[in-house]
């Protein structure tokens, strides 16, 4: 990462190479740095050939689910009968995640170039970049970059539009994002039909994350083999990944490391470890929606899709939230639950009512009015909220609650039995 501090020697700087370099934001500056060469190259290739390169590289979706990108592209109809669309998910709202923001702030053309290549691969003529509403600065930068690229006729007949979100977390869910683009309430849709068959405006659509697409030009230019070789642990997780580290570390920020990098080294080495005199208590490695790791698990965890699953969590979006020994886990989990209760779209019963009830129970525990049975109730409730709804928002609320109770049960019990003083819940 090049901003706000110089890249650490152990980082593998690909996406973040020009972070902090204001010239890279401009069309000319980007071209001078080798930008748009990959797009020139892609224009000479057949769509299927581009998809094959990406498939071969092992690139997986960086938005959270980790679905192989090339495979996703190959789901689009080969013989085109209807207009195809690409939606770029720049609605980065996952608590603890701020990587796409930096990509758009510093290398907007990397995203535009990746978008154009993906459009060619899936034979789309229109792409929507759905930018989180609160991202005013990245939006302005993207707007300028797009205007410059269009003025230079960089994309030919391809049309790329920027679309601003209106402040709902759920619009980062791909089907809700499509509804939002259509001007509807951002409610997730039931699947099937899947977007590749019936997406935005009912047409075949692919949705990709910003970081995923920003990696595509590099893969095109330097080859699938080069990208595939970047894997420290499992060969199924390739390339580099930006990790947004926040919380109780000395140097929070975005760090780009090769897949399979140990979380322990990221925290203690790259981020400078905890504040003096404090120790690591817990860590959420993939944004707020994934299970919490305790200290031992964090220190064992390797940062790739499989390594996280091995520790019982997920790589998610790469938003690393770090808690040291001063953190009150009950309070932190309540804050997460409250976030999901606030953001639930209100469609599915389990999510609408379950997230709010979960929050109320934890708030009462914090207020010193909890009961021992509350913990079992929370677990049962979370069970009801997992795998039963249209999207995974309710699962995301359940994940930190279940893992929190499992790993930090004593902290909950301290409140319930009165060993710990009540905190004022604001």
């Amino acid at each position: 990462m090049g901003y706000p501090h110089k890249p650490h020697p152990r980082e593998t700087v690909v996406l973040s190479r020009y972070f902090g370099d204001p010239e890279a934001k401009t069309y000319k500056g980007w071209a001078k740095r080798g930008g748009y060469e990959a797009w020139q190259q892609a224009q000479t290739m057949a769509p299927a050939a581009i998809t094959d390169v990406v498939k071969e590289s092992g690139l997986r979706g960086r938005g959270g689910a980790g679905f192989p990108t090339g495979l996703k592209w190959s789901f689009m109809p080969k013989d085109k009968k209807k207009p195809h669309y690409l939606c770029v998910n720049a609605d980065e709202s996952e608590p603890g995640t701020f990587k796409d923001r930096e990509i758009m702030r510093w290398t907007p053309h990397a995203l535009l170039e990746g978008t154009a290549i993906a459009m060619r691969a899936i034979q789309a003529e229109v792409a929507y970049i759905y930018v989180r509403g609160e991202f005013t600065e990245p939006y302005a930068i993207m707007e300028r970059a797009l205007a410059e690229a269009n003025a230079a006729r960089a994309f030919g007949d391809l049309k790329i539009y920027l679309h601003r979100g209106a402040g709902a977390y759920i619009c980062g869910e791909e089907t809700a994002l499509m509804n939002s683009i259509e001007g509807k309430r951002g409610n997730p849709r039931i699947k099937p039909p899947f977007p590749a068959a019936f997406g935005v405006f009912g047409m075949p659509t692919t949705i990709n994350n910003v970081e995923t697409l920003a990696a595509v030009p590099h893969i095109m230019k330097q080859g699938a083999a080069w990208y595939k070789a970047m894997a420290l642990s499992n060969p199924k997780s390739t390339g580099t990944k930006l990790f947004s580290v926040c919380g109780h570390v000395q140097e929070p920020g975005n760090y780009e490391v090769t897949m399979g990098f140990p979380l322990k080294d990221l925290l203690y080495d790259l981020c400078g470890g905890m504040q003096p005199g404090r120790t690591l208590k817990a860590c959420i490695p993939g944004g707020s929606s994934v299970p919490i790791l305790n200290r031992e698990e964090s220190e064992r965890c390797l940062l790739d899709y499989e390594g996280c699953v091995e520790q019982g969590t997920m790589l998610g979006s790469g938003g690393v939230i770090v808690f040291d020994d001063t953190a009150d886990m009950v309070y932190q989990i309540m804050r997460l639950a409250r976030f999901y209760a606030h953001e639930s779209c209100a469609q599915c019963t389990q999510c609408r009512e379950g997230t709010a009830w979960t929050t109320k129970i934890i708030e009462r525990i914090l207020a010193g009015q909890g009961k021992t049975s509350d913990l079992d109730l929370l677990l049962d409730l979370s069970e009801n909220m997992t795998g039963k709804t249209i999207c995974v928002l309710s699962d995301s609320c359940a994940a930190p609650v279940v893992s929190g109770i499992k790993k930090f049960r004593h902290e909950f019990e301290d409140y319930i039995t009165g060993r710990k003083r009540t905190v004022l819940v604001a």
Partner: protein
């Protein structure tokens, strides 16, 4: 089972259904009602209540029966521990913010939240009584609809009805999370001519009819299949009666006619059925008794009417109501058949109000249920011509047209429900039942003959018009009296070609086609 059907098993019961059928509909054929809230066969699938979670063999997790299509060899289980526990979880969550005010709720007794909670809910809540429940004040949505947000389970049936069926999207889901409620457009009212359906669609007591508000409890109601008499569409309805008073009309599904809906005009068209100012006994003018009508028993009244008919020669005119049953219209024709007769009816016209997304469903401009039946039996729409003919007629028969003043040198027989001033001119007045008080049939504008059933007894000595006319024919020695509407219909079927071969049994609950459908854009011709 035919080969083109998809075969699957639901709770061990094998069924065959057409390709594309949803599991929840296939389950109905297996005799399994999968609990559901947001799903309604007349609305697009939403998949949001998550109540209909069932186990499907080989699926990694529970599936929603309302959005999953059947597949060959599919094995569906609704009663596994996992599925039941998931549904129990949904019920618990639906109830945590529900006020549980069943004792004062209109829906109580016909509430799907009550029903499914009784069926498979948790016996007690785990929601601590100290937590406040969500509260929002009652809102006035439109002319007949109240919204009680506290009872709402956000199934969105009402939103989808207005958006996708009525195509006037004035409702939405406002806010998010557990603060969500049904919102109405700030500058609109829920006053679409079909808006009342949202009350029927609401599975709980959240959308209420102001007209029915606190009028009766569901378990006090008797329900009778009927046909709406509000227009020529012939929507299938249910008359809800309490102590022999019609208190509500609700739609009865008939996919050929009205699907699951009725318009507000038809819904409100029942108060007249309960009117108290009815003719309750036969009345006759005694010979030499001047203009005064005397109360008599049926025998005397029928004898007097028979005498009038026997003595008459030449022209006869029938002025009939297009709200009369096909059976009565037929027997009235039979009665006047020996004469040179003219029969006519007149129809009140109003505004047409279609339900946008349902083809061939509208509140029709022609506000009478049986104009087509009258036409099939030879009655004409030229009422003025019939009135003119009456001026030279020996007998005029008026069938429930109380406002018609007849100028005739001949005798006047009046069969009706109300004793209007015009009716007082009659020589014989015979009290008849209204649509809620008799069995009968109507033929709708599409030529579909459909049965309606008796919901309450007629007042006093009033009898169905078909009974009265058949008795009169019997007194005249022209046929046996009929014991039931079914007998009257059989007589009609024997002598009127379009009805040939039909019987009440053959009509079943949804009716049969007796005439070709008119061309969709055919202009209505009236006298």
């Amino acid at each position: 089972m035919p080969e083109d059907l998809v075969k699957l098993t639901i709770d061990g019961v094998p069924v065959g259904v057409p390709k594309g059928t949803l599991v929840i509909e296939a389950a109905k054929q297996a005799g399994v009602l999968v609990p559901h809230y947001c799903y309604h066969p007349g609305l697009p699938v939403a998949g949001v209540c998550r109540m209909y979670l069932v186990e499907i063999e080989k699926a990694p997790k529970l599936q929603i029966a309302c959005a999953t299509q059947v597949a060959e060899g599919m094995v569906v289980r609704t009663q596994t521990a996992e599925a039941k526990s998931a549904r129990m979880g949904v019920l618990e969550l639906l109830l945590i913010n529900h006020p549980l005010d069943c004792p004062i709720c209109d829906q109580s007794g016909e509430c799907e939240l009550q029903d499914f909670t009784f069926q498979e809910g948790r016996p007690a809540t785990r929601y601590s009584p100290e937590y406040p429940k969500r509260f929002n004040p009652v809102e006035d949505f439109g002319p007949d609809v109240l919204y009680v947000p506290n009872r709402c389970i956000l199934c969105t049936r009402c939103v989808r009805f207005m958006e996708d069926v009525a195509r006037e999207p004035v409702l939405n889901v406002s806010e998010r999370g557990d603060r969500a409620y049904i919102g109405v457009h700030p500058e609109a009212r829920l006053d679409h001519p079909w808006a009342g359906n949202v009350v029927d669609l609401c599975p709980v007591g959240s959308l209420l009819s102001k007209d029915f508000l606190h009028k009766a409890r569901a378990w006090e109601l008797d329900k009778t299949a009927s046909i709406c008499s509000g227009c020529s569409q012939g929507c299938n309805v249910t008359l809800d009666t309490r102590d022999n008073v019609v208190v509500r009309i609700r739609p009865r599904p008939n996919l050929e006619v009205n699907q699951y809906f009725i318009c507000d005009h038809g819904r409100m068209n029942y108060r007249w059925m309960n009117r108290g100012d009815r003719i309750e006994a036969p009345l006759v003018k005694r010979r030499g008794g001047g203009a005064e009508l005397h109360v008599v028993d049926w025998d005397e009244a029928l004898d007097r009417a028979a005498m009038v008919l026997r003595g008459a020669r030449g022209r006869a005119v029938a002025l009939v109501s297009p709200k009369a049953s096909t059976e009565a219209l037929f027997l009235a024709r039979e009665l006047l058949a020996p004469f040179e007769w003219t029969g006519a009816f007149q129809v009140v016209m109003g505004e047409e109000a279609p339900l946008a997304a349902v083809p061939n469903l509208a509140l029709r401009a022609e506000r009478a249920p049986n104009g087509t039946g009258a036409e099939l039996l030879g009655y004409i729409r030229n009422y003025a011509a019939a009135l003119e003919a009456a001026e030279s007629a020996a007998v005029v028969l008026v069938l429930d047209e109380p406002e018609t003043t007849v100028k005739t040198p001949g005798a006047l027989l009046y069969l009706g429900t109300m004793l209007s001033d015009a009716a007082r001119a009659a020589d014989v007045v015979l009290p008849i039942a209204n649509v809620a008080e008799e069995d009968g049939t109507f033929v709708n504008r599409d030529g579909r003959v459909q049965r309606y059933f008796q919901a309450k007894p007629p007042p006093g000595m009033a009898r169905p018009a078909w009974w009265v006319l058949a008795e009169l024919l019997a007194v005249l020695g022209r046929g046996e009296p009929v014991a039931s509407a079914s007998d009257a219909f059989d007589r009609l079927a024997q002598s009127v070609a379009p009805f040939a071969g039909l019987s009440y049994a053959a009509l079943e609950m949804t009716g049969k086609q007796v005439a070709a459908r008119p061309a969709p854009a055919a202009a209505e011709v009236t006298a």
